[in-house]
Symmetry: C2
Subunit: 462 residues, 2 copies
């Protein structure tokens, strides 16, 4: 369709854990997979990459616990990504190892090639992809980074100072860490750009520079077979520290498009449509009196009432409520890490958990019983399993279920129910064309998720 298709490959970095948008995002449900709009930021990123790469040329670096988001959300876009293009990091070691993992695989498969590197949790206008594509010729000589023309003296971004032009790019005079507001204003006057964390590399140039500035990583990828071995040997390091700020071959290309890393709730507020009182209201009924400039996001179906409240963030989920001024958005990650330090599972997961076969939401969790609303996607099935400590009652509230209990199989229609005794093998399948919804009442002396023995599983979890 376009002559330049099939020329540039894409690596999407989708392994980040989410703490800065807690309690919307969780460690195991990071912001790139949140459906803040109809599509997630990850899905938007995939759509952008499809402007320069075929789906078979897109590589996603992520981890085991987020693999199902990656597959599922690409499926929702109507595409199927080859399984071998999903690269699972055994442990997060920042951007340089993740990018090298993708570059290494592409080089092994295809030899020399051009590769765009994209974060999965940024907002970017699609038109930027044309510029990135046009930069290809320069990538044979330079490690190309992309700098956004700033629209404000933002203190949450790194800055790049461009120097002499080289074709459509510029040499880089210096990189600056996140500045204070005074320096940020100075940078803007002096023509600095925001460091976007997007790159365009040729494999050959990349590995030459990697060998020069991070030989330990280069060596590990050459000498070890499994990704587990490699990741054991290499340091935790960003591509900026590791290569970009050191290499003399770096050039920057200006992008004038709308871009944001949505790094906190204040950035989220800025990106969304406001009502006539400058409030951003997501997902909830509200009863608001004399309140302006707030971000209100509720996932609980409850009514939210604000009176005389201005410039606040209010995020209400089933298990957590966050309230802070927009100007304190950057402190939200402190709450998430405090919870993590206490081993509080609300740092990691929501009441709603996503599974390869669908999702479940915990409606009530008390001593001796737990009640879940379970949604099974059409044609999907849960593993064949048993629980030692709990029995389960299932009532079908929507769709049709095929139930296997021991060797017996039967169907349940809307309004029908069944009972599964502790210690009995069972399996739930949605044989239909519409989502199956059941209410599960678990009863037993122990009703935690880890009381499960899996015998057969479509998703390799047995």
């Amino acid at each position: 369709m376009y002559e330049w298709r099939n020329i540039i490959k894409s690596i999407i970095l989708a392994g980040g854990s989410g703490t800065r948008l807690w309690p919307l995002s969780r460690e195991k449900y990071p912001k790139q997979f949140l459906k803040l709009n109809e599509k997630s930021l990850f899905q938007d990123t995939v759509s952008r990459c499809l402007e320069i790469s075929d789906i078979n040329e897109i590589y996603v670096v992520t981890n085991e616990s987020q693999k199902f988001f990656v597959i599922g959300q690409i499926e929702e876009l109507g595409y199927e990504i080859p399984k071998e293009n999903i690269l699972l990091e055994p442990v997060a070691k920042n951007t340089l190892p993740a990018i090298t993992y993708g570059m290494h695989l592409i080089k092994k498969r295809f030899g020399n090639d051009f590769v765009g590197i994209f974060s999965s949790d940024h907002i970017l206008d699609k038109s930027a992809m044309q510029t990135i594509k046009n930069a290809e010729a320069l990538a044979s000589e330079y490690l190309l980074t992309f700098g956004i023309v700033p629209t404000s003296p933002h203190t949450g971004y790194g800055y790049i100072k461009p120097a002499d032009p080289i074709g459509m790019a510029f040499k880089v005079l210096e990189f600056k860490e996140k500045p204070d507001i005074y320096d940020a204003k100075k940078y803007i006057k002096e023509g600095f750009l925001w460091n976007s964390g997007m790159f365009l590399f040729e494999t050959t140039v990349f590995f030459e520079e990697l060998e020069k500035y991070a030989p330990d990583i280069s060596t590990a990828f050459r000498n070890y077979e499994t990704i587990e071995e490699i990741y054991e040997k290499i340091p935790y390091i960003s591509i900026d520290y590791g290569i970009i700020e050191k290499s003399s071959k770096v050039a920057v290309i200006k992008l004038a498009e709308r871009w944001s890393d949505l790094g906190n709730f204040s950035a989220l507020y800025n990106e969304f449509d406001k009502d006539e009182n400058n409030n951003v209201i997501h997902n909830c009924e509200e009863e608001i009196i004399n309140s302006y400039g707030n971000l209100i996001h509720s996932k609980t179906g409850k009514i939210v009432s604000l009176i005389d409240v201005n410039d606040m963030i209010v995020v209400d989920t089933m298990d957590a409520l966050l309230i802070c001024p927009k100007s304190s958005s950057q402190k939200v990650k402190d709450v998430a890490s405090s919870l993590k330090d206490k081993n509080d599972e609300r740092a990691q997961l929501h009441q709603t958990a996503y599974r390869p076969w669908g999702s479940y939401t915990i409606l009530e969790n008390s001593e001796g019983h737990k009640i879940k609303n379970i949604v099974v996607l059409p044609q999907k099935k849960l593993s064949l399993q048993l629980h030692h400590h709990r029995s389960e009652h299932w009532v079908v509230v929507k769709g049709m279920a095929r139930v296997q209990v021991d060797e017996e199989q039967y169907f349940l229609r809307q309004g029908e129910s069944t009972f599964i005794r502790a210690g009995i093998k069972h399996r739930l399948t949605n044989p239909g064309k519409v989502p199956l919804e059941i209410i599960e009442v678990q009863l037993g002396d122990y009703v935690e998720e880890d009381d499960i023995v899996r015998f057969d599983d479509d998703y390799g979890r047995e």
Copy 2:
């Protein structure tokens, strides 16, 4: 025990509907019955009245929908109030009709008598009851009202200006409506008292003055038989407007005790214990950073996180979230009335509804199904009933249930379940000694509370 026992009777006004502490209180669950501490304000009021009256001498004016709170909460105190002492107003007509209803009944039964009148939703130190008791002698000549020695220039209370002393009381120079802060300060300098809304009356004096200043009410109570007829004839009017501010027989007695009408969340904040950051935190886990002077009340079991938030009210219930500065507490009633205007049932009720037999909490309410956690108190039973539009699945999670379905009776133990088809008569009983807890899954094209036909009911609702 005390020589003065059995001399003074008490009327407790407990018919108010709660909007000023929404969403904690609701129209059908007003603040006097909330368990803000271990005891409700109503229970505290009953305990105070027991200082001057036997339980048989306490009269409670309330309405049908709150009758079960009155009986239940007095039972919890270990007392049984005679059923004929609970007076049900067919419609709320403010304090003068309610007080006259009680006074009328006492006069009819006992002739002349002394009666203390008490709101059920105020905080008051018990020691005040001694003063009230001591005032009895004066009540043969005066309508006695009680004025609180002010501790601040409160703009939410009415004020009374005392004049010359008459024994332990004072003549009243004038009554003042809720003032602005300027006038409030002036009143305090001039020795005004807060109008507490408590009274001590002799029936004879009360009815003489009623005849003089509100003859329509006096006449209605004399001439009509049923309370419904009487309430149809009489106006909506407070005792202050109707009698107290007009009668020349009014005297005020000073009380120096701690008193508050808990008229809004700010008052609630003032009355409760603060932590080291001056936060009042009720019922919830919190993760609070740099936040001071807040009232946080959550009934949802979730974690509440505040960052850099000061002097705010945060009230989180299953179906509503309220956020406002303490200084805007008085606007909360506007939200409740706005909801009421929209016929939103969250103005009236909680997700948890209290019934004579126990309570239920709605866990999920979706199109076509509703899930409830139902608690049946020991030895209590629901009505014999049927639903046209919904079937019900019951799973016992605690205790034992006796189930009647059509003519059949059987028992369900913990972990057992049953299914009740639409159109079938059924009844649920707790035959045991501990509360019975069941999960009910309702399924049908219509799952609202009004799809119920009652055949037999312990509580006269058939």
